[in-house]
Symmetry: C2
Amino acid sequence: MPTPRTLRTRARILDAALDLFERQGYDATTVNQIADAAGITPMTFFRHFPTKDAVLVTDPYDPLIAEAVGAQPAGLPPLERVRLGLLAALGDITPTEDSTAKRRVALVAQSPSLRAAAAVGTDATQQAIVARLVADGVDRLDAAIAAAACLAATTAALLAWGTAPDDLAVLVRRALAQLAPAGATP
Amino acid sequence: MPTPRTLRTRARILDAALDLFERQGYDATTVNQIADAAGITPMTFFRHFPTKDAVLVTDPYDPLIAEAVGAQPAGLPPLERVRLGLLAALGDITPTEDSTAKRRVALVAQSPSLRAAAAVGTDATQQAIVARLVADGVDRLDAAIAAAACLAATTAALLAWGTAPDDLAVLVRRALAQLAPAGATP
DNA sequence: CCCGTAACGTTAGTCGCTAACATTTGGTGT
DNA sequence: ACACCAAATGTTAGCGACTAACGTTACGGG
């Protein structure tokens, strides 16, 4: 239960940061500048976001995705289970996007250092999926390969979405379709 | 043409760093400690390695891989071209591994922050592949998806190799086989 | 309208990394 | 063997991300 005050400052930090990042670039913007623009102290910035890149990169979807993957038929090959699981989870995530999502993704798409930060989040998602599949008796390496490939394809679509007018769900479906077994409908 | 002295110090830094990383962990080791152990100044460390993680993460293979991908039949779907290209490049890379390769990979496999650093390198490789495919008329998003998926699968195999007794080439072939169209031999 | 508590500020410090300039070292050619 | 010049290293000073401990403000519920 975050107090109203917390939400206000958090929103001011996010606004200031997004504005500065878009105007002068992520790397050229310091936390001090963001804090000044938001009318706070650098210290306070770090109380709301653990790192500078956390303003742009957040993933609260790991459990949801892992569960969706686990819900797919256990008889399927790992790659298919992950692929179908991601497609299923897509429906739950897409409508939730807040209004800053696209701006954030566009910024991440531009800076390699930010993509690396985003990779840490993807990595966590991958571990969650692997853990779920291993619990079902899937070989650990096979699970890691399937999860890594599907998440990488999804990420590629996500980054393209940041700088394109298309619908996110369409791009992700197109990405995962490329990993489908030859001649499959979904 | 690196002077002999340069090679010596470089080797001493690498030895000291690997030793410290393995004994007390990557994050817990400072550049100062590495410099002391190597009998040099922190400044000199950065003259040989641009960043702390560069001791462990290096990729001089981008052009080689991009070329191998481009050499595959242009009629194939992008995913197949990248997949076969990586398999072809594998033969050229594997014999070149130096003796510290496995120790370095094992360390990278342990720390999420290091995996992120490695992701920057993978990202560059992906861009190289995409550029090559786009030059052949392939759609940019399709190319990015194919490259991202294949490289992610390969990376998963590489990280597994760090902590397993298996042969690297075997693991990579197994990884890429999962992305093959249903019922293909290679 | 008061009061407790959450939110914020202050200070001081570590670590990764960089720039500009001075200094040493080592291999080369005589 | 010796002197020389360039390459390699050291010195100092500094920035930016991030953390810890502790004191201070101000907001919102009663």
